[in-house]
């Protein structure tokens, strides 16, 4: 095991990081008193990385993703996205966001759903048509352009929502448990496709999951988090090659990383019991 890094320092990155958080904290003020969703998170995500956030529910992994996306405001520390504040990065359309549910608009066909961000961002008609064709091909949905979302299966809907996030030029893809609601066979298939897609597009991907095999299979870096307060307990750099067939999940190397993730999750839990 040569890949051990608990507190990423910017110096270890060759390029300036896409996302960098220092002492980041977020406290929600609810009727039952303050809730520490995130506490003292230090993390740097380099360009082209595939980073998974894993942890039990309430550990702040989704909150962290939403902070990157400027959908939540941190209450402590600093965070930069492409060297800017998350707000500026959002205004510059720096990222695509894939939600837990597909969230396609039922009154739009698949191709017009993919066109939605392109329309808002003012792409030309010809450019739109070309990008729709390309991204739908990327997620294997060619031939379904004219269908409505409710005519497709859950897996296809989620693929269409990924196409929608890929259609415009954002180097960062934020995915919040995108396959959480799908069955395991569909999920395996989509994981494989996602890796191929990542290899072809050189995007940086932040991926929230609560599945250990999914995290280990997909990531170059796994961020293990624990709840109350939400914090990072371990950051694991994967030693697996970038080329990953599905059966890599039976290799000792894979199982060793999975064991370390599990240990990290358990260590986080022992705190409260």
């Amino acid at each position: 095991m040569n890949a051990i890094a608990s507190d990423m320092k910017p110096a270890t990155e060759t390029l300036s990081p896409v996302v960098e958080a220092r002492g980041l904290g977020l406290t929600f003020h609810t009727n039952d008193g303050p809730v520490n969703a995130l506490s003292d998170v230090n993390l740097a995500i380099g360009k082209g990385e595939f980073v998974s956030f894993i942890g039990p529910s309430g550990c702040g992994k989704t909150t962290f993703l939403r902070v990157i996306a400027d959908l939540e405001q941190p209450t402590a520390g600093t965070i930069t996205v492409n060297g800017m504040t998350p707000g500026e990065a959002r205004e510059k359309r720096a990222y695509g966001y894939v939600f837990q549910a597909a969230g396609l608009f039922p009154w739009r066909t698949i191709q017009r759903n993919v066109a939605l961000p392109l329309e808002i961002m003012g792409y030309s008609q010809a450019e739109r048509r070309e990008r729709i064709r390309r991204t739908l091909e990327l997620v294997n949905l060619t031939g379904f352009e004219k269908k409505y979302p409710w005519q497709l299966s859950g897996g296809m809907q989620q693929r269409a929502s990924i196409a929608r996030a890929l259609a415009f030029d954002a180097d960062l893809l934020l995915m919040d448990e995108p396959f959480g609601a799908l069955d395991e066979i569909v999920r395996d298939h989509l994981n494989e496709q996602l890796l191929q897609l990542w290899a072809r597009t050189t995007k940086t991907i932040c991926f929230v999951t609560h599945s250990i095999p999914e995290a280990v299979y997909l990531s170059t870096k796994i961020v293990v988090m624990s709840p109350r307060p939400g914090r990072v307990t371990d950051v694991i750099d994967s030693t697996l090659p970038r080329e990953r067939p599905l059966d890599i999940r039976e290799t000792p190397e894979f199982l060793a990383i999975a064991a370390r993730v599990r240990d990290g999750l358990r260590a986080g839990h022992s705190y409260e019991d």
Partner: protein
């Protein structure tokens, strides 16, 4: 076992024989029945009783066995041939009450129509070409039966014309007063209702957009809206006549008041109907207020907006007609109803009511059709 079957056979054979006898009887009877009803020999009127007994028997059999031999169906439906006789006989009563045996035939006719509709509603006519015909025929036969009963009851019971005119008189009046009715429709529907409806709905919609943009307006406007929508139209209409004069403008104003707030309340609710996730999605695209409104929130609000449009279509018609009771030029549906009632010309009142019902149904139907086309994606319409 065998005796059982034998007895069954005897019973069936007996029934059949009886059936054939009745058929022959009816065939002989039919040409003899001439209006005025049963003015012929007295034995003829007694013979109407088996007809009623027969059709009741057929219907009972239908619900106990769920299948009928074709002969019974044929004879049952043949009874419908008495409908024209019943109608033609009405003339002969001339304000007198009909003889008691007349009702036997009327009851037989209604039960025969029941049998026909029951057969058309059966599984045989659920789909395909016949299904389409049956889908149209069943409600038509039903309505025609009601009209037949109305006509027969009013005339044969000699109900005073002022209380309830028969449908034929209303239809005749309608056909003879087409120019007057058209002028009334033009004044009330095409001016007061449509203009008031368009203005009221547009204003309610615009107010909802503004209220959505400024929270204080939403908080301030909605309680007032609830209060104003509870205002009695009877109280508002005379004031509008004072403000806007006798012509259609004052009626349109009443319609505006009636339609404004349903549209406002529904649109405000509709604009809040889009999900958090969808709005977060638009935020990640750095989409502006108007882009989010046009591309997400208004489409999501469409089911609510069409709800208001449908509610308002009936409200507008009521508002315009009632408002005309309080002062109007000498044209308009409400004006006509109030003056013709005073002159005891109730057939004209009923003709106006029929025209109003027709116009209201067409109005509502058109909006419902547009709704289907616009909100085709909604689970209640796509059926999923």
């Amino acid at each position: 076992m065998s005796t059982q079957r034998g007895m069954n056979f005897v019973a069936t054979a007996f029934q059949r024989t009886l059936l054939y006898l009745i058929v022959i009887l009816i065939m002989l009877l039919y040409p003899l029945l001439e209006p005025p009803y049963l003015s012929g020999p007295r034995w003829l009127s007694v013979l109407m009783l088996p007809l009623l007994a027969y059709i009741i028997l057929v219907l009972v059999q239908r619900y106990r066995r769920n299948a009928l031999p074709p002969l019974e169906i044929g004879v049952g439906l043949f009874l419908l041939a008495f409908v024209p006789i019943c109608l033609a006989s009405l003339r002969g009563f001339a304000g007198e009450e009909a003889p008691r045996n007349y009702w036997t035939t009327v009851a037989a006719c209604v039960l025969a129509a029941w049998l026909l509709n029951d057969l058309l509603s059966g599984a045989k006519y659920r789909s395909g070409w016949w299904g389409n015909i049956a889908k149209f025929a069943v409600p038509t036969i039903f309505s025609l039966t009601l009209l037949f009963l109305w006509e027969v009851l009013v005339r044969a019971l000699a109900i005073p014309f002022v209380l309830l005119p028969p449908p034929t008189a209303i239809a005749q009046r309608l056909a003879n007063s087409l120019p007057v009715l058209m002028a009334d429709v033009n004044q009330t529907i095409f001016r007061s209702v449509l203009i008031g409806y368009a203005l009221g709905c547009a204003a309610g919609f615009a107010a909802a957009i503004v209220a959505d943009r400024f929270v204080f307006l939403r908080r301030g406007l909605l309680p007032i809206g609830n209060m104003v929508s509870a205002l009695p139209i009877i109280g508002v209409a005379p004031i509008m006549v004072m403000w806007f004069g006798f012509d259609w403008q004052s009626k349109a104003a009443v319609v505006v008041i009636m339609t404004f707030f349903p549209m406002l309340v529904n649109t405000v609710a509709g604009l809040a109907a889009s999900g958090h996730m969808e709005r977060d999605l638009m935020r990640t695209y750095a989409s502006g207020y108007w882009q989010t409104l046009v591309k997400l929130r208004l489409p999501a609000a469409m089911p609510f907006i069409f709800n208001a449009l449908k509610i308002n279509s009936t409200l507008a018609l009521i508002g315009a007609i009632v408002a005309e009771f309080f002062g109007t030029p000498v044209v308009g549906m409400g004006f006509r109803i109030s003056t013709e009632v005073g002159r005891m010309n109730v057939d004209m009142v009923w003709a106006e009511i029929a025209v109003a019902a027709l116009a209201g149904s067409v109005f509502y139907g058109v909006i419902a059709l547009v709704e289907r086309a616009v909100t085709f994606w909604h689970p209640s319409i796509r059926g999923g």
